[in-house]
């Protein structure tokens, strides 16, 4: 399934506008990184795509069909969302949590049977989480919880997987694990969309990017075509360098340093979005 975001706009009921008119495509087999500083509205955009928030303007077409006329259940069969963090209130086991991914394809009164548990186990094995399958989701580490959330989306079997800053709580080792997992998922045919404020992740994935600035404008394209030093420095309000490193055959983004030029400017001192 291909998803096409058409002139999407969102404002909060108090009139605060997050973005006015965004247009881009989500293609299967590709990883689309939504890059932007804190407060640009990246999470809001994902919430609009999953229809957790109703856009105030524009539409999203799922294989040409307006999602405004779709039921939430149909959207859940097409799009899965991995939130930034899951905050459970009860000690559900990892397996009990992952199996809820099957919900959109089940009847209202239906309870999971052997078939659904098998789907959940397949997702758990895919994420290599068998060793914690019986443990409480409240007692595993943040990194494991992130992977459990991805396992649940796999059990959901959508065409497109949305991930809200999937690396934000992880150490660099786990960040790399998650990014390679996203690459693998795209290679398997999923459309993958993730938000990030780290330009290096965009360079590592070397795929599509949608750059969202704090004024709600968006530039969409291939990362090697559009992400450069000027764009990033402007976006984050600080001096950044993009270097092409021959040894690793890819570009990296580093800050020029502290002090006058590299000092954090006023605009980037924004509050967390959502």
């Amino acid at each position: 399934m291909n998803i096409s975001v058409e002139s999407l706009g969102f404002s909060y009921p108090n009139g605060k506008r997050v973005f006015k008119s965004l247009t881009f495509q989500i293609t299967k087999g590709r990883v689309l990184s939504i890059l932007g500083p804190n407060g640009a509205g990246k999470s809001t955009l994902l919430a609009c795509i999953a229809r957790l928030l109703m856009p105030t303007r524009g539409d999203i077409l799922f294989d040409g069909r307006s999602y405004l006329r779709m039921r939430q259940r149909e959207i859940a069969c097409a799009v899965g969302l991995v939130p930034q963090d899951i905050v459970p209130s009860f000690h559900y086991s990892v397996l009990d949590y992952v199996v809820t991914g099957c919900a959109p394809r089940m009847g209202l009164f239906q309870k999971p049977k052997a078939e659904e548990y098998e789907i959940a186990w397949t997702a758990i094995r895919r994420m290599r989480l068998e060793h914690i399958a019986e443990q409480s989701i409240m007692k595993i580490s943040g990194g494991e919880r992130q992977q459990v959330a991805i396992a649940r989306v796999l059990a959901q079997r959508p065409s497109v997987i949305l991930l809200d800053e999937p690396t934000s709580h992880l150490d660099i080792g786990n960040q790399m694990k998650v990014l390679s997992m996203l690459r693998e998922l795209a290679d398997d045919g999923y459309g993958v969309v993730m938000t990030t404020h780290n330009p290096d992740h965009v360079f590592l994935l070397d795929d599509e990017v949608a750059v969202l600035d704090r004024n709600g404008n968006l530039i969409f394209g291939n990362s090697h075509d559009i992400v450069n030093e000027e764009l990033l420095s402007e976006l984050y309000g600080t001096s950044l360098r993009v270097l092409d490193l021959d040894e690793i055959k890819r570009r990296v983004c580093i800050a020029e340093g502290l002090g006058e030029n590299g000092q954090i400017t006023k605009e980037s001192d924004a509050s967390e979005e959502m």
Binding site: P13, A47, A50, R51, L52, R71, Q72, R73, E74, I75, A76, C77, G80, L81, P83, I86, V87, P88, S89, F90, H91, Y92, S93, D96, Y97, T100, G101, A103, P104, L108, F109, Q110, K111, P112, Y117, E134, M138, Q156
Partner: protein, 339 residues
């Protein structure tokens, strides 16, 4: 492993059902008119086989007095525990009890109005039920005015409604005749199933069967709701509609329980915790166990209330005296989780 877990769960359910049946027999035997369990069985068999009773006194005690009372105790305990477990799941908070949205305080106002109006037991029951449901509707209406469908708004609206209803109850108590009406209101508030007759019990039975079955059928979806509204939405659920159905069922259960027994504290909070200790938080297993545990606990409490002393002890006093230390023990058992 899954098979082993299911086997343990079915053993637990069978054990609880057997304990409940066994305790029913004990409860039928004890009381001011004490009977031998063998006599109770004989009376029951005579009724089933439609033979002429060998002892009319025993027959009357069992069928007119004790069975309606025992059935009411079980219904009240099961309803309050089930709705407590469901509220805790929906509101993602294990410390929530079924009167969160003001149903109990509303029912008290309803009962007090009926008492002041000189209504009999049936009038009190109807008025308590109606005001309990009106209180929940006011809580829901407040969230509509606030234009919010979040859990937090509902909880705050519940606090507003409960506070208001408690004040109205205060006014009603203030104007009540201290010799007769005030005493009756206060006694009603303490909870009792002593005077429940067969007709009253049968009046709430359909509510229990319909709402209880619906909640059991939706138990797995309640798991999803307990992960949070956004997560439930991303899994395709119509959250406001589903939550509305679940809260309505739980509120109907609470209102019908309170309408026949008066307010009984602690049970809706403590029993779901005990259930979770036995089955874990998965509502597909927790809810059936909670129903049996709640029924059993209330039956034990009610039997104690009429058999322990020469005067009947109000149920709320006993559930508090047993429930509070028991809850402390449960918290101690789960200290890892509450830390």
């Amino acid at each position: 492993m899954e098979f082993e877990r299911n086997r343990r769960y079915h053993t637990l359910l069978t054990g609880l059902a057997a304990a409940l049946a066994g305790f029913c027999l004990i409860a039928l035997s004890v009381g001011r008119y004490s009977m031998n369990p063998a006599d109770v069985i004989r009376v029951l068999v005579e009724r089933i086989t439609d033979t002429v009773p060998s002892d009319y006194a025993m027959h009357n005690v069992v069928f007119i007095i004790r069975i309606p009372r025992i059935a009411s105790a079980i219904l009240v305990g099961a309803s309050l525990s089930l709705s407590g477990a469901v509220y805790q799941g929906v509101f993602k908070n294990p410390l929530v009890s079924p009167d969160l949205l003001g149903v109990s305080s509303g029912a008290c106002v309803g009962a007090a109005i009926a008492i002041l109006g000189g209504g009999g037991m049936s009038m009190i029951q109807i008025s308590a039920f109606a005001m309990g449901m009106i209180a929940v509707s006011i809580s829901v209406a407040i969230t509509r005015v606030l234009r919010s469908d979040s859990n937090m708004a509902l909880v705050l609206a519940g606090i507003v409604t409960s506070g208001f209803m408690t004040s109205v109850l205060g006014i009603l108590k203030y104007v009540a005749d201290p010799e007769t009406q005030l005493a009756e209101i206060v006694f009603w508030q303490m909870g009792s199933v002593a005077s429940v007759n067969r007709a009253q019990m049968l009046a709430v039975l359909p509510v229990f069967i319909i709402c209880g079955s619906l909640l059991l059928a939706l138990s797995w979806r309640i798991n999803i709701l307990s992960f949070g509204e956004d997560e439930a939405k991303t899994l395709g659920m119509n959250v406001p509609l589903f939550r509305g159905i679940v809260i309505a069922c739980a509120s109907f259960l609470t209102a019908s329980a309170v309408s026949i027994s008066g307010t009984i504290g602690w049970i809706g909070l403590v029993i779901p915790h005990l259930g979770r200790l036995l089955t874990g938080p998965n509502n597909t297993k927790l809810l059936p166990v909670t129903i049996l545990l709640g029924g059993l606990f209330m039956l034990i409490v009610d039997t104690l209330s009429r058999a322990a002393m020469s005067v009947e002890i109000p149920l709320s006093i006993l559930t508090g005296i047993i429930g509070a230390p028991f809850f402390a023990w449960l918290l101690w058992r789960q200290r890892e989780a509450v830390r």
